[in-house]
Symmetry: C2
Subunit: 441 residues, 2 copies
């Protein structure tokens, strides 16, 4: 393995530039640890003339990523174009078909085509490495594909989207509303102009679908993921969670149940005194529960030029060293079909916030509805919003709705939903009930 | 690679039994992910007849681990005997010299002989994998050797001993003294009858020396580690730390300085609101600061049968898959000599607890000594111990010493030590000053 490994990079955005900088800066070290020279030979992007803060004059230029993918002068295509179809997919397919290795940071592509592309890589005896596609700089793909491979995994979960975590953290720390913080995050470039993809949970779901496949050996099934974003989280929820000893995080969770694999993305209450509750701002984390290893958690930066480049280069070094594995940890043809668990049967504790009409008997009626569904309550907090404390002091019923917050013991999704619909029918609440699932760590 | 990989296990204590259980229970899965059958063929221990809660009748028995190491019927020796010399070392050397791979959980052996054994493994073209030797089930060796290899590492640190962390956590949570908790931990089997090796920091130092080599590409230098255990930590320290917003953890820390690599093991103050502060009980963690990836932290179980077996089997699967790397991430002959940093020059903040004679001017004299060394103070807490609160309320000087706790801004070890010796000479303190280093996360 003394010949140099020749790299072609398609896509020179922030990650592509990060990869070039890393390879230029640490090249001496990498020749030693990678056991041979890692040499960027060619690059490809939409605009050759763009100022990129990195010298690309020494690399052969391609206008078309598919031409680059088929170029005889490279051994590895690094795909950093993005998108689930189009030039990203076409160039990856062309590269694998030409028996060239692929390293990619493209979660959308893999969430939709992981099995197909893995089969293609295996058939051509090449690598399809994607550490950077899941949680940026956190080395979770390798941990699951290699380190923890002896374990039977029962659950994998994590904070997989930095934008959501940044918004939730700032709401909590500064006591400010969702819309305010989102606006600031957009102004500062931490959130996209159209933030739906992040705050609606789609980005988290892309990553979760890959973690599910690595954890359970099932085919990727992005469409089966239950999806709920953070748009509905109000400051009242954040404050009530704090009072009750919790933090709210957007989690992606996949776990084994009797009826199949449950995959869900939703705001989640986690205990305040836990490592995951301290994963703040744009940081990400992934936790794995294995039968022998127990619980393992990895924390780090989930996005950004540097962390993503770190993962891309780790994947390249694997190829330089000759560590070529089936992309999804086992031969793609041995992946089992994904069987979706019945989400309505999901069991766990729930946080419930109701906007109750402030009149005698309202709360009793609500409590009765919960009891009918055999939902038992762990704690109840009934307190006026901050701006009504004056009214509270006089003990007179106020005109505004009274927020009531409850934490339930373990119950099922079906029971909660049934109780909600009866409570709404009874007319004792003024808004749709808010419900946040509690995840046991 | 369709032939089965033949394993010989030397040492059938709690870890050896865990490895056998894992290989027996998850063997079907492992044949798929490991790409060939992993087959235990032979075992070796001191007492063949011992009841082990696992069936070993199907394996060839060896009385002598060196005979097992040289046995033609195995491809991999799993060394779980322990100890830095003796049969552990002899069998590992014999195995490597017979061109058989080695997987070991033996931190003492590697802390003292990593370079020599790695050279031997490389010369014979075989693996020497030791994931289980550092932080049990946490996949930090692979993360550093492979995933993060593109980074220039500036610091690695962690909670590397479960016994110490268990004692410190219970002191904090239950407000009880060190000796009490240690006794209970010994009774429960969490601490050895002679706990010196754990609570004195030696075990942490063994693991740290390997992390240092992986992080900085230097030869292992266990002897150079500055070592301070947790014996001196009193409940007063734990409580003062809590008041000031910190937790006390025994950390191993290795970092790059201008004068070389600094390696130290000592009780450390970490901010209460951080993930590392929430690493409680017998859990371990390791954090790495890299120039591209930023800060990455891995948390999990640092010891025990299951977690250690998980790492051992991960190492075996690597061999089954043909991923054979230089044990220390780069060829052993390219490791640089270890250059020790001048510890006295260590810069950082400090927690200081003094037992001050309760008379006018004592505190002023102490503050002057600190100022002379250009140590500036971030916070000062002067409060009577819990049993003297009555004295405080009357504002009269008490007869007992007054504890004074200070947090300094960044200063040097030399300045602190100089200030302490002058304060002691002045006669204003009744005990040796307590000092705990603060680690910036």
């Amino acid at each position: 393995m003394s010949e140099s490994l020749r790299i072609g990079i398609a896509g020179l955005g922030t990650v592509g530039v990060g990869v070039l900088k890393l390879l230029q800066r640490n090249s001496g070290e990498l020749a030693e640890t990678g056991m041979r020279e890692i040499k960027v030979c060619a690059v490809c992007a939409r605009d050759r003339g763009k100022n990129r803060d990195v010298d690309i004059s020494g690399y052969e230029w391609f206008d078309d990523p598919i031409d680059l993918a088929r170029h005889e002068g490279i051994d590895v295509l690094v795909e950093l174009i993005g998108g689930e179809e189009g030039p990203a997919k076409d160039s990856v397919v062309a590269s694998l078909k030409s028996a060239k290795h692929v390293v990619t940071a493209n979660k959308a592509l893999l969430a939709h085509h992981a099995s197909e592309l893995s089969s293609l890589a295996e058939a051509n005896g090449v690598a399809l490495n994607f550490e950077a596609a899941v949680a940026g700089g956190i080395p979770i793909v390798k941990a699951m594909r290699e380190s923890l491979i002896g374990n039977h995994i029962s659950r994998v979960y994590g904070i997989l989207n930095g934008t959501c975590n940044y918004i939730l953290t700032r709401m909590q720390q500064e006591g400010r509303a969702f819309a305010d913080i989102l606006q600031e995050a957009q102004d500062a470039g931490y959130a996209e102009a159209d933030p739906t993809f992040d705050i609606g949970g789609h980005d988290t779901a892309h990553k979760l679908s890959l973690l599910t496949t690595l954890a359970f050996g099932t085919q990727t099934s992005f469409e089966s993921i239950y999806l709920e974003g953070i748009e509905s989280i109000s400051l009242a929820d954040i404050e009530a969670a704090d009072d009750l000893g919790y933090r709210i995080k957007l989690l992606g969770v996949a776990l084994e149940t009797e009826s199949g694999i449950e995959q869900r993305v939703h705001p989640t209450m986690v205990e305040k005194h836990s490592a995951i509750a301290e994963v703040d701002g744009v940081s990400n984390c992934v936790a794995v529960d294995g039968d022998f290893v127990g619980d393992v958690m990895l924390i780090g930066m989930g996005a950004g030029s540097g962390p993503t480049a770190s993962s891309v280069v780790g994947d390249i070094v694997d190829i330089a060293r000759g560590n070529i594995l089936p992309p999804l940890a086992r031969p793609a043809k041995t992946l089992r079909p994904y069987e979706r668990a019945r989400m309505r049967a999901h069991a766990g504790g729930y946080y419930v916030r109701l906007s109750v009409v402030d009149r005698p008997g309202a709360f009793a009626a609500i409590a009765t509805r919960m009891a009918e569904q055999e939902i038992s309550l762990k704690s109840i907090v009934q307190r006026p919003p901050h701006d009504q404390l004056g009214g509270m002091a006089t003990n007179k019923p106020t005109k505004k709705p009274m927020p009531v917050v409850m934490i339930t013991h373990e119950t099922t999704e079906a029971a909660i939903q049934q109780a909600f619909s009866l409570i709404e029918e009874d007319g004792h609440v003024l808004e749709k009930p808010q419900m946040i699932r509690i995840e046991k760590l």
